[in-house]
């Protein structure tokens, strides 16, 4: 369950959210729609802990986000940004996934390599996992950015336009992954996610309203 209590947020020059009061369950995918610039990415960044300066309260499983420790954010939430290249820190997909698994430690835990191989195979990335990320095509990078979702975890997924730039097969794989997952999808492309029967929200005039 995620709950907003009198939640507001403004950038210095622009108000984005004003007095949002809303709660919704996170048992199945949630789709948050909104026009360009309405605040979808900002909301994703707030929930992921990247923007802490909001007013009001946001509660995740009855605990205030403001009371989350840094480790709790990383343990409970995984946020994949809209621009694929903004998600990587390493030079190759293989290295990047290793950093997801064990940081910069050189010690690899049992099963981590197998888990990476499985992930790359599922996303059809095996052949390009050792190539430099900036030499990959836009679509390959986007698919690569989704790889950490497949690592064993029990996190809530925050996905900003996850299908943008993906081909039909990759969208199909994405939808399979999203089925019954605790995911919040920030996207305008409702038709893509219809098969998931998501809980639909929309950002309208600085409020988040529930559609279904």
């Amino acid at each position: 369950m995620i709950e907003f209590k009198n939640f507001s947020f403004s950038f210095p020059e622009q108000e984005i959210f004003r007095g949002v009061n809303l709660r919704f369950p996170l048992k199945k995918p949630v789709l948050i729609q909104g026009d360009n610039g309405s605040g979808k990415t900002t909301l994703a960044r707030i929930i992921s802990g990247l923007i802490p300066d909001y007013s009001g309260e946001i509660l995740l499983k009855k605990k205030k986000l403001a009371d989350f420790t840094e480790t709790e954010f990383a343990d409970k939430i995984i946020y994949i940004k809209q621009e694929a290249e903004q998600n990587f820190v390493a030079a190759t997909l293989e290295e990047d996934l290793q950093i997801w698994q064990h940081g910069f430690s050189q010690i690899e835990k049992v099963g981590e390599e197998r888990s990476r191989k499985k992930t790359f195979s599922k996303l059809k990335l095996t052949e390009i996992s050792q190539r430099l990320i900036w030499q990959l095509s836009g679509g390959q990078r986007k698919r690569g950015s989704l790889a950490p979702l497949l690592l064993p975890n029990n996190k809530i997924w925050l996905l900003d336009e996850p299908a943008a730039g993906l081909d039909a097969l990759s969208v199909k794989i994405l939808l399979q992954l999203l089925k019954e997952k605790r995911a919040i999808i920030f996207s305008n492309r409702k038709s893509i996610y219809e098969s998931l029967n998501p809980l639909e929200m929309e950002i309208v005039e600085k409020k988040i309203i529930r559609i279904n």
């Binding site: 210095p12 992921s48 802990g49 990247l50 840094e70 480790t71 954010f73 990383a74 343990d75 995984i78 946020y79 290249e85 903004q86 998600n87 990587f88 820190v89 390493a90 030079a91 950093i99 997801w100 940081g103 910069f104 430099l132 990320i133 900036w134």
Partner: protein, 243 residues
């Protein structure tokens, strides 16, 4: 008060020249104070001041290390204290303070420069009758630093999302982490330059000799006065030092 970039560049040339020519702590301190005053005068955004403050907070350890190194390795002059082979001398303390103040000055002047948009540099160099290509080249180099900064910030953000906190790492761990991250950061920054070069070529960058600009930066009276004062002072100082 909006000071013209050309005026700021002349002030920076003056301040750095003075900093190089004079080895006195008090002079360096004055230069730092003048730069700070300039930043306060020309910065309209609280955000800039906050990021400058954060930068200094992050560099405090470096300042202390630099200061201590100078004190330990410079043994000339009158001895204040002595423990075995370690001597603290007046010159060591003096150089320690001077180097720390110089680095502070460099950071402040850099902050002063990076507050300005890329386009202002083009206008400044163009009004000094630099060829447009050269102006663009210099402006691009200056613009490179914010590009790196933004790349590093994105990476820092991504590490945070993965539960890796830069400020919780020890100095050694930070060096190791940065050494692993530097290659992707450099490569991505260079790719941005490549993209910009392609975009320029597509617009026929060197095709036209005469150009129009979106806006102009005219010099105000105080700009003329400051520039004149700085140039006279520069000539006076350089002449005094050389002759």
């Amino acid at each position: 008060m909006k000071i013209n970039l050309r005026t700021i560049l002349i002030i920076i040339i003056l301040l750095t020249t003075i900093s190089l020519l004079f080895q006195q702590v008090l002079v360096q301190l004055y230069l730092v104070l003048i730069s700070l005053g300039l930043i306060l005068l020309s910065s309209h955004r609280k955000k800039n001041m906050k990021s400058l403050q954060q930068r200094f907070q992050g560099l405090i350890k470096l300042f202390v290390i630099l200061f201590l190194m100078q004190i330990i390795f410079r043994n000339e002059g009158n001895v204040y204290m002595e423990w075995g082979i370690v001597k603290i001398t007046d010159q060591g303390v003096n150089y320690g303070l001077i180097s720390t103040l110089r680095i502070t000055l460099i950071i402040l002047l850099a902050a002063l420069l990076f507050q300005r948009p890329f386009y202002d540099y083009l206008l400044a160099f163009h009004s000094w009758h630099f060829p447009y290509e050269i102006s663009f080249l210099i402006a691009s180099v200056i613009n490179f630093i914010p590009t790196y900064r933004s790349q590093f910030l994105t990476i820092k953000e991504n590490l945070y999302l993965r539960g890796i906190y830069f400020r919780k790492l020890t100095l050694f761990q930070r060096f190791r982490t940065v050494s692993q991250l530097i290659f992707p950061v450099l490569s991505r920054a260079l790719l941005q330059v490549k993209d910009r070069a392609i975009a320029l070529e597509l617009r026929g960058f060197r095709l036209y000799k005469n150009r129009t600009f979106i806006y102009e930066h005219k010099l105000a009276v105080w700009d003329w006065l400051i520039q004149l004062f700085c140039l006279l002072l520069l000539v006076f100082i350089v002449k005094g030092q050389i002759l």
